[in-house]
């Protein structure tokens, strides 16, 4: 049709209009009737109206607030809600409908799926006539602000459904670092987990939502979102700078940290959490000079002297941060090498010694004195230290192992886990070919013992009191151990070790699990009916935990600080009840892992500073 063939209208055309008299009206007579075009009456079934939020499912991560293009969402503390898990915060999103543009980006980014939109959209407000004009803007704007709750959830609108869950929509698969085959790795002590390549690291880092729930899970509150963001920008230097602010042992931590951050990671709610630990390893191993990269300038010594007892991560961290404040620190280590549990407790396939020394050397290069093979209490008197130094930090680990308390424990071939690991690490134990070993316990030490034994050629069985899923060891560790051929016996309660001079058989009872009414882990219960199983063994290794040993401290001081045999009570700055004595490391925190130890050392530095500043004022 072109403009030239427009025909003229005929004169009867208006009459055609009469036919509309008999048609159904086009008008929707709202509010008397509603739209009837969708499967349900009213507006569309996926309408983006006011928000609904399942307050108990919500974990308060704040991603909705951060994605909001209009800044309409504020996280407000809500004491009246129950939290879903131990990492959940008690803040909940509050929406300002004087800002909201109903774009649903908050719904799309909600990791728990608790936030949804309803089909409700009508809300109007008129300010009261008596309100003074100057207050009116505030009053009006307040009326449009409310916390989203479940009130509207019977009328759901825009909801994230199956087809646009996180894993279908965003790059979501965890990138596992390459690992050597179990068959190959079980014959060698070399490291079997490969560090990410730059591309892998950047891809893995780009899964981070940046909410920072992990930060609160971390015992030392590392700047996790910041350093992951830097990796995502392919900038390991910047990343290390962030890490180094709160962790002077980045590579060690990357390799062996218990990574509670990953348990808290919100990405893990719908998929697998970020490999935060491996990312840290990546940035630490891609930087040669930590101090230079993190732009550390060392201050002059301020004349104060500090002593740190023990050469483990707590003392190293304490030494490093105290040095940054200008203190002159001396570390007293009983063994011939620094590192404590890292050196002797952790097998080299998890933490190669050269990687470890890289971290430690960086710390030492700041100018920290180290006195090796010096046992406090034997070579140096504790009282002398207290007198000669301005403050003393006790950063000793747990060296006193707990015993099985069963018959036959005194037999030859029955060993403690830590002793065993020490022997493996110092090279005194080289071959266990053909030997049968039973490891009792389910922690990381038990795994280390078992897997080291496998590498030495032994046939290993782990006996644990509860189920595999109750084991305190990292799931990855358990998985890797099983891949390497470690047998795991669940619900085995040790009963007796038999043998004449050396251990020959290990007997355990098969327990049944009884639910703990208070909600904790189920308890294994053994009674007369429980069947007993006997394994023939060459060695039995108990790895069921340790307690600290602070024998070098005089008993009166031990009593004064309230040491109960397992635990030294300290405040948030590592201060004990004895003036000038600070404590960190496994001796003073219940989590007993490396990052807690580092954290305790760092906080103790702050405590020392507060203490000395106070001293000065008093003088």
């Amino acid at each position: 049709m072109g403009s030239q063939d427009i025909e003229k209208k005929n004169g009867f055309a208006p009459i055609v209009g009469l036919k509309y008299l008999f048609k159904k009206p086009h008008t929707v007579r709202y509010p008397k009737e509603d739209l009837e075009v969708f499967p349900i009456s009213g507006n569309s079934p996926n309408y983006r109206g006011f928000h609904t939020n399942d307050l108990e499912k919500c974990i308060g991560c704040g991603n909705c607030a951060r994605i909001c293009p209009t800044d309409a969402v504020t996280m407000v503390e809500s004491g009246d809600v129950k939290v879903a898990n131990k990492f959940a915060k008690i803040v909940r999103p509050v929406f300002d409908y004087g800002r909201c543009c109903f774009c649903a980006q908050c719904v799309d980014v909600c990791p728990t799926g608790s936030l949804q939109m309803s089909r409700d959209y009508i809300h109007s407000f008129h300010p009261d006539l008596s309100v003074p004009v100057a207050d009116e803007p505030e009053i009006v704007s307040k009326d449009f602000i409310w916390r989203a709750d479940k009130k509207r959830s019977e009328n759901p609108g825009y909801v994230r459904n199956e087809s646009n869950k996180f894993d279908k929509v965003i790059n979501f698969e965890r990138i596992e670092p390459k690992k050597t085959d179990p068959d190959k790795r079980k014959i060698s002590f070399s490291k079997y987990v490969q560090i990410y390549s730059k591309a892998e690291a950047s891809k893995e880092a780009s899964r981070c939502l940046g909410c920072g729930v992990c930060v609160e899970a971390c015992p030392n509150e590392l700047h996790i979102p910041e350093y992951i963001n830097a990796i995502s920008k392919q900038n390991p230097e910047e990343s290390l700078e962030w890490i180094y602010k709160r962790n002077p042992l980045p590579l060690i931590c990357g390799e062996v940290c218990t990574h509670q951050c990953e348990e808290a990671c919100v990405v893990g709610i719908q998929g697998e959490p970020l490999a935060i630990r491996w990312l840290k390893t990546f940035s630490a191993s891609n930087v040669d000079d930590y101090l230079k990269t993190s732009k550390i300038t060392l201050p002059k010594f301020n004349g104060k002297k500090l002593a740190a007892i023990g050469g483990g991560p707590a003392s190293l961290a304490f030494g490093y941060y105290a040095r940054l404040l200008g203190y002159d620190v001396t570390i007293y280590e009983a063994e011939e090498k620094l590192g404590g549990a890292l050196m002797w407790g952790i097998p080299v396939y998890r933490l190669p010694k050269d990687e470890m020394m890289k971290d430690i050397n960086a710390i030492l290069s700041t100018g920290i004195n180290v006195r090796l093979k010096t046992k406090v209490g034997k070579d140096v008197k504790f009282e002398d230290l207290m007198n000669s130094c301005d403050a003393v930090f006790v950063g000793v680990g747990n060296s006193k192992p707990m015993t099985l308390k069963i018959k036959g424990e005194e037999l030859e071939g029955v060993m403690q886990g830590l002793t065993f690991m020490h022997m493996v690490n110092d090279g005194s134990l080289k071959d266990l070919k053909g030997k049968k070993i039973v490891v009792v316990g389910g922690g990381n030490v038990a795994m280390d013992v078992a897997r080291s034994s496998v590498r030495l050629g032994a046939d290993v069985t782990i006996v644990y009191r509860r189920r595999i899923e109750d084991m305190p060891a990292d799931p990855e560790e358990i998985e890797d151990a099983r891949e390497e051929g470690v047998k795991i016996v669940e619900m085995g309660v040790p009963a007796e070790i038999k043998g004449e001079k050396s251990a020959q058989a290990f007997e355990y009872a098969v327990a049944s699990l009884v639910k703990d009414p208070s909600g904790g882990r189920p308890k294994p219960v053994v009674d007369e009916k429980s069947p007993h199983v006997t394994l023939s063994v060459d060695y039995v290794i108990a790895a069921i935990g340790q307690t600290p040993s602070i024998d070098f401290i005089p008993t009166d001081i031990q009593q004064k600080i309230g040491f109960d045999g397992r635990f030294v009570p300290v405040d948030e700055y590592g201060r004990t009840k004895f003036k000038g004595l600070f404590c960190g490391g496994d001796a003073s925190n219940s989590r007993q892992d490396i990052i807690s130890a580092i954290g305790s050392g760092m906080r103790a530095t702050k405590g020392v500073e507060l203490y000395l500043a106070k001293e000065e004022r008093n003088v």
Binding site: Y30, A72, R99, V133, E136
Partner: protein, 181 residues
């Protein structure tokens, strides 16, 4: 006298003319509301081209500073009784343009608003709902924003002037640093 006012208010509510002025994007939902699908003439509301014959001023969303001036002119030209409807998020607290250098934040600092509607933008149903509410308010004699404007003229004027009659740069410090070469 008061009975007479009640009667007048009742009839006022039955016939309100809406000024045909699209100040912002919310105006796109007005044609459907005005025409056959939702047909707001059922409530006696119909568009009107000139401010002097209109009763309702719709602020359909954001107001750029330049438009604010026109809106104030228009509002002052309208004859009382007159009512203002704030449409959507932008009029309440800035909406999506909260950080824009050219869009005002809260409408009721500049002119009195009788009723606000949530939404970005409000659906025709929400608009009709607000109209019905406004109608009730007018009939009850509760919508007296125009009296407020007269009473608090100085306050409104001062707010208006702050935005419209600027004599010096708003961000003084920055201006010093980056003087155009």
């Amino acid at each position: 006298m008061s009975e007479w006012t009640e009667i007048v208010d009742y009839f006022r509510g039955r016939s309100m003319w809406m000024l045909h002025y699209c100040t912002g994007c919310g105006a796109i939902e007005l044609p459907p509301t005005m025409t056959s699908r939702w047909d707001m003439e059922r409530f006696g509301i119909t568009p009107m081209a000139t401010p002097r014959q209109a009763d309702i001023l719709l602020i359909t969303g954001y107001l750029a500073i330049k438009t604010l001036k026109r809106v104030i002119y228009t509002y002052e030209q309208m004859q009382a009784p007159k009512w203002v409807l704030g449409f959507g998020s932008c009029t309440i607290n800035g909406g999506i343009y909260w950080d824009s250098y050219n869009v005002i934040e809260r409408l009721d600092k500049y002119i009195p608003v009788d009723i606000y509607i949530a939404g970005c933008m409000p659906r025709p149903e929400a608009i009709l709902d607000a109209f019905v509410k406004l109608k009730e308010m007018v009939q009850m004699g509760e919508a007296k924003g125009y009296e407020k404007y007269v009473k608090n003229y100085d306050w409104y004027k001062a707010n208006q002037d702050k935005v419209l009659k600027r004599t010096s740069p708003v961000l003084k410090e920055i201006e010093k640093v980056t003087k155009i070469g």
